[in-house]
Symmetry: C2
Subunit: 296 residues, 2 copies
Amino acid sequence: MTISDISRIRRFNRAVTREVGALDHSFLGRGRPLGAARVLNAIGQGIDEVGALRANLGLDSGLLSRLLRGLEGEVLITLARDDADGRRRRARLTPAGQAEFEAYETLSDTRATDLLAAHPNTSALLTAMDLIATTLGREEIEIAETDPRAEAAIHCLEAYYAELAARFDGGFDVSLSCDPEAASMTAPRGAFFVALSDGMPLGCVGLKGTDLGYAEIKRLWVAPSARGLGLARKLMTRAEAAAQKLGITTLRLDTNAALTEAQAFYRNSGWHEIPRYNDDPYPTHFFEKAVAAPGA
Amino acid sequence: MTISDISRIRRFNRAVTREVGALDHSFLGRGRPLGAARVLNAIGQGIDEVGALRANLGLDSGLLSRLLRGLEGEVLITLARDDADGRRRRARLTPAGQAEFEAYETLSDTRATDLLAAHPNTSALLTAMDLIATTLGREEIEIAETDPRAEAAIHCLEAYYAELAARFDGGFDVSLSCDPEAASMTAPRGAFFVALSDGMPLGCVGLKGTDLGYAEIKRLWVAPSARGLGLARKLMTRAEAAAQKLGITTLRLDTNAALTEAQAFYRNSGWHEIPRYNDDPYPTHFFEKAVAAPGA
DNA sequence: ATTTATAGCTGACTAAAGTCAGGCAAATGA
DNA sequence: TCATTTGCCTGACTTTAGTCAGCTATAAAT
């Protein structure tokens, strides 16, 4: 092969290094050094505690302090002591600071829009970006408990339904399926989890409580860009731990033969096949797993 | 849609900004400031003229001069006057400089290898990187005349044959086709061009001279990651200009019905269909175009 | 043979980033 | 309650990056 894998990655590195440099340069156009701009942006993103800013930007305490003083001097931010802990201080944007923050946002968005317009196949470009961002950020994927009606959860569920529709021979219509009520997947009856990578939902799983002596695992899904990173297992582990806490001892789930990789996953993570236990038209295979008691 | 296109791009930006920062940081681990490391790397890549370094790294003359002095002090490089132009100076790595350069290369390669290992679908990751690097670098794609036996040309041709094999119903075997001899696609009989983006070949076209009163356009191909950027037209324009220079007045080409987008492209760029003019088994459609005389 | 332009260098600066020791006030823990 | 820790700050630095005017040598143009 004439073009090695590594040389392709390094070409990518050069391209994005140039791009990052160009964005930094465009930020300088607002007459503020990069350090100050970064702090302002972080505050705009909602990172308001001084300590969190320090951690997030990797700045020395003294340096950050001076940058904050500078932004205060420009009347872009105000700092106030935290009510709960008087040592801590919280930064807030003033109206002028908000305007300035938005100006930086606009610079970023304009670059992003230009990039989108540059390629005829927008969807392929975005998919490529998602894949790379997910791969680069794989260490920082967190699993958060959330309401199944929250935005991130709905995003996952819609993607999940769309995928089922594409993969099932006769399509998929949620309304024909036993769509679990949200209440059955929230405390104290059940739980719902999403995997988040820098804010983007990449996967979900629901634990649905029932009155039938078992709970069900529902809506286990991982985004295509994140498959192979072991996310399904992480989500499942979280759901099982939640079940344990709720005193649930038996878990069940159903799946369709078309989802071959899902079946393989269940079989090699402690589930065993059982007879049909519901009359949902979509599933073809049914599994059960015993959950150890909390103290065991 | 809950996740906007722009937010996806910005997540990508954050991910690569972090990655670029991490790579810079790992470079600092060799005890040399980034500026000096960059200069050393550029010299290692073969950029040896001081002026070229300045242009390439975007450095001020004075600053670069000082950085070069520093590297000379570390005995990593030597500077000697250019034989052809005594004002110019050329940098060369000493053995110690070569070793140091290679240490930086290893750092880069290790990161690249780790990244590759991080994702189960290596080929998808690389394809995504190619697409993004090409999109980001779209302004700097250059079209270079080259020998059809050169590495970049062969890379394109192999990809072209592989694509034909995949798209033609009965596959494609070069040896059954009229594979033009390299000599017919080099001066003074013809020409061969490749499109290069930061060293990666993204497309090609051959101008094949014949003794039959016309020349042929052969092997017009654009990499999937670069389609939609107008590269085919650029390549064709270059080939036509080369034909003009060689005094060729009539161009012909053949194509297969399976390549629908190619046919559309020929029709809307001045070509008209003519009867079959050869007995190659693969083509189904034949085109001709008149080239204006040089002086016209 | 001059004049002019070019390539690179040096000196003298400034701005930005980063480091580190110490200080103070609030919170925490024995 | 009092020592200790924590969170943030200030002062006093250094290093890195970057700018700019002017210098010298070579080369090119007239």
